[in-house]
Subunit: 344 residues, 2 copies
DNA sequence: GGCATCACCGGTAACGTTTGCGTAGATTTT
DNA sequence: AAAATCTACGCAAACGTTACCGGTGATGCC
């Protein structure tokens, strides 16, 4: 009981036409009479004809598939992004193929090649924590593969970018901490070379600059694998807290870090915010009902995904090669709760 | 600067061979000498040749693409499932195309047709809340589209199924509540006809039966859209709590319901567990650090996704048509915390 | 009435890969 | 030594669709 779909030649044969005519009738060509068009359309409907997309893809050398590379799918931020990408892409007649890097360069290379070999029309990517050098991307880009970067971007490839305002989000959060009188506000970020880490660090530094409170260098730490592994966070936090003068507040710079730091503090009975005030980037649900309610910087993930997909489609469907690439920056949302409030 | 991938004929021309020989060399055919094979492989590597999957797909009428339909991507349970599916599929050389039903029949029909028109080799699906009648699926199935059901399954189509033990999970949770002396244990489920709702309801009823405590019919309610819309949960909870004899404990039967019920209780200042004990199905992170710590029934989502993908691939790659379909049931994990503990 | 201009449609060659069949030459068999 | 069997490869036809280049009548024009 194998599925034998009806093809264009079947219709042609049944109607005494040529396949070329049927094809043109379908695409509503002006070279076909209304009468013939109607005949074709009616018959096609009656036999439930669907053009074979694979054959079409082979013909016009495009797949209407968008590749997406993220660190991990099972992450509230990225799953919301993917939701946005899928929604926009679907509406435009594209579908979405997902690959994960798990923050590893090797897996990112694999993912990108994998998508390329699947002949996606373009790749939407948020760089992995290990992707300092991106030859694997530039190679493909030079060969004509279109990219759109979101979240973790790079300037090494000139193309569309969509981020949230990491600088401002981090600065706002840091100012919030400083202005309450916290004196040792620490920073825990992902890999140092990632755009989000740099921008958020700059925001953190700018806030200190504005308040004339130079931050102690020991208060700034990074997690090479972005806190994907719990032990990373564990180590960093131990170093922070066992220092002679430990921090009294902390800015966490990614979903995973925020989650794991929160977990660490609770496990180690580090009182938030009494012993350590906490605010972090997070798109997790229910953070307001954690104990203590967690202050977060939330990014417009769905909208970022939507925008990224639309940018890519614009790039793909541009009649002429684009070279004026837009960098869109969306405002994050700073939600202050008890975890970052100084208790008197 | 258009991407011009090297094709098999290029290699053939460069090496003075025919395209057939090159193709066979690649597939490691015994008809080709080792010497020629090596020559071909070496040259192919040097020019970074990748077979064009679209052409291959057209040739052997398969796409090595798996379609996935879930209610929503941005949901911890489903995103973990997708993680599992993607990981297993990737390892087996398949890729994954995702579509969302948003719990709507119309969107599910759209999604399925969309995937079919994308010529996926098979569809992994968790039914939408509105999918009581599934003609749209049986139609396609009759035409030869393979299915694997996960999470929300149906017996209307005879094929592989992978679920978690909903009956036992719900029963365990209900017993836990009953045995602590809660006397009015309520049940809030998604659409009544969904398999997960039925099975969980049966577990709930079985627990009552085992303790000889017939549950009040007013203590059982359903949310047609599975709590995807907050107002649904709001309405159901209002009805529960404004009754003459409101429940003193509640079993929530999906991620979304659990989350929204928790939110509702906190907003309405319904004390958990003093006024209403709560336990629910959830795969959310950090539930242990909510206030109060939330008792949950956690499903092995990643493993479910992995299994579903492997089942599908087994189905697709079976040398002869299968008709002995496996139904795998994985054990859920019941984690008891303060939200469901009776305070004396 | 001859010629250009249409409207409408068909034949055919692609797109890149795989595969059945054919066939040289080399090797083995009787 | 002739016949049979292999080995190793090439030719060409598919897979389903679309684009290019035509061609056929019919109509319009001077």
């Amino acid at each position: 009981m194998k599925f034998e779909p009806v093809k264009i030649t079947d219709i042609a044969k049944a109607l005494g036409l040529s396949s070329a005519t049927v094809s043109r009738a379908f695409r509503d060509s002006h070279e076909i009479s209304e009468k013939t068009k109607k005949k074709v359309m009616d018959y096609a409907r009656s036999v439930n004809y669907r053009p074979n997309p694979v054959a079409q893809n082979l013909k016009d050398k495009r797949s209407r598939a968008l590749g997406v590379v993220v660190a991990e799918i099972a992450n509230s931020f990225y799953s919301q992004i993917i939701d946005g990408i899928e929604s926009a892409a679907h509406a435009k007649g594209y579908h979405v193929i997902i690959a994960q890097s798990h923050e590893l360069l090797e897996k990112e290379i694999d993912a990108v090649n994998y998508l390329a070999s699947r002949s996606v029309d373009g790749i939407l990517i948020s760089l992995s924590g290990e992707s300092e050098h991106i030859d694997h991307l530039t190679n493909l880009h030079d060969k004509g593969m279109p990219y759109v970067f979101f979240d973790r971007v790079t300037d090494q490839i000139d193309t569309f970018q969509i981020t949230s305002d990491n600088f401002s989000g981090a600065k706002q959060a840091t100012l919030h901490l400083l202005d309450q009188g916290f004196e040792r506000v620490a920073f825990l970020g992902g890999t140092a070379h990632l755009s989000i880490t740099r921008e958020r660090l700059n925001g953190y530094l700018a806030a200190h600059g504005e308040r004339n409170t130079g931050p102690d260098k020991n208060l700034i730490r990074f997690c090479p694998v972005g806190g994907l592994q719990y032990y990373e966070v564990e180590t960093a936090m131990q170093q922070f807290m066992s220092a002679p003068t430990p921090p009294d507040a902390l800015l966490a710079c990614s979903d995973k870090l925020t989650t794991n730091i929160f977990r660490y503090c609770r496990e180690q009975r580090i009182a938030i915010p009494q012993q350590l005030a906490l605010i972090g980037f997070s798109n997790l649900d229910l953070t307001e009902y954690l104990e203590p309610p967690l202050s977060i910087i939330r990014q417009p993930a769905f909208e970022m995904g939507e925008t990224a997909a639309l940018m890519m489609i614009r790039l793909l469907e541009a009649p002429y090669p684009l070279n004026d690439f837009e960098s869109k920056v969306l405002p994050p949302d700073c939600v202050l709760r008890r975890s970052s409030i100084r208790l008197v």
